[in-house]
């Protein structure tokens, strides 16, 4: 099962890409996809509790299950003004 991951703001800098494709196990949650990526990019780890996520442009929770072909977005909060 393949998903597209989209990073925003600082997360994009850390991952070095705005978009990545990853194979995930059937039944994987957004949280599982995130932790996989955090293993790959350890600098992502501290963001886990602060990010919000979306599946196919719909706000989602970390325990939501993803499907084949889904686009998962991870957004850190930003505070600048």
């Amino acid at each position: 099962m393949r998903v597209t991951v989209r990073f925003f703001a600082r997360l994009r800098d850390i991952a070095g890409a705005a978009e990545l494709a990853r194979d995930v196990a059937p039944g994987a949650t957004i949280g599982a996809v995130w932790r996989e990526l955090a293993g790959e990019f350890p600098e992502l780890v501290p963001y886990e509790r602060s990010i919000s996520s979306a599946v196919n442009a719909d706000y989602a929770r970390m325990d939501d299950v993803v499907g084949d072909g889904d686009e998962i977005a991870f957004l850190p909060p930003v505070s600048g003004g």
């Binding site: 501290p46 509790r49 602060s50 706000y59 957004l75 850190p76 930003v78 505070s79 003004g81």
Partner: protein, 512 residues
Amino acid sequence: MATKILIPTPLRPYTEKKDAVDAEGKTVGELLVDLTTKHTGLKAHLYNDQGHLRSFVNVYVNDEDIRYLQKEQTPVQPGDTVSIIPSVAGGAPAGAEKGYDPFSTAGVAEKGSYPFSRAKTGPDRELPSLTNDEIKRYSRHLIMPEVGMEGQRKLKAAKVLCIGAGGLGSPAAMYLAAAGVGTLGLVDFDVVDFSNLQRQILHGTPDVGRSKLASAKDRLTTLNPEITIATHEVALSSQNALELFDPYDIILDGTDNFPTRYLVNDACVLLRKPNAYGSIFRFEGQASVFATKDGPCYRCLYPEPPPPGLVPSCAEGGVLGVLPGIIGTIQATETIKLIIGVGEPLIGRFLIFDALRMRFRELKLRKDPDCPVCGTHPTVKQLIDYEQFCGIHPAPEPTSVQNIQNNATEISSIELKQRLDRGDPLKIVDVREPNEYQINRIPGSVLIPLGDVPRRYQELDPDEQIVVHCKMGTRSAKAADFLRSVGFKRVLNLRGGVLDWVDKIDPTQPKY
């Protein structure tokens, strides 16, 4: 088989207000003939006296302009969508073709009711009338049916509070003032700095050193002397927020830090006032409307704040100067729409803008029933300590000189200079980015950007005295923690970073 034709707003009066109608035909030309036969009123708007399609009427098949296909001979397949897009000039008197006035229509406004409860006198607050001078000033609003006299009077009656007169607050306040929002409040307690001028267009070079509110009031009064500018020169806090927000209808969040963002959100939810939210980082911006009656709030999206220091501020991370111009004007647009009650507000939608890729994205948001402040069983029923909530604690004062010497983790610029002058062996590690290193630096320092430290720390001697620094001290504190965690014994963080060094030791170097 019928093809769907999308009709733009100015032409909907001729299609019984429908935004899409069906027509028959194998080519675009045939479709348009069928369309104008069924809806004869459209004919004069699409064709000139010679029967040619008017030059400013663009027709698209799916996403393609027919000018670049086969013009009116462009074939249409079942399932295609045809769009008619008249050019909308704006900005200057249009030299449009005679006999065509796309806006000489009435009754196309999607008038709604106020999505917010009016302050003080309630939704039935009587609308003020407009003077002749105001009618002249707002004429470009008044001739649009979506605004008209009633909408402009609603703007005059409205009270909007801008939190922050900085990057977002500048364009937002300027457009709201120009638009005729009757009472515009501003909260800020900062003074104008040279580094603000790249984006905070309320303020000019002669304003450097002045209070931002004094500068803002001058600028906004010049822009529109008809409105009332209320300045609140205070630090927004849990103690004053509710009282400060109370007289206002809408709050526009243009602040620059997480504690204030959560404070503004919670106060808006508690007072049931919409929050026209915007936030920026480098080349990216976000906007939404939070805390309306049935819509989500900021905490539905981000229940928990990030740990301090994780997400850089504009001062640390930088920001494209024009970016707050884009996001701040989106906030102003949403504020005006809420006041007038037209269009589709940005409620339940989170807009993300990427200036580098010039792309807007939108996420659907829902009110979270478990939200601690706007959910069905809220746990936050009054304002809390937001500094503490965001994990920010006041720095403990060192208790004694002895204590400093024994547990020193920091060093001052003056002390560093003394040690260098004495010839003490020490290594200065600059953990900023290469582009910052080009602006100013401490002589003899080596550059290892914070993100590279975990890969490159072996270039350093773990027994040597190391002084780490960044711009102001936050990033280098993280670098120091990391180095200690991998066995470095003597690591000191330069308090106040290179900026303090420039201030105290070498004022010939530029600051940023």
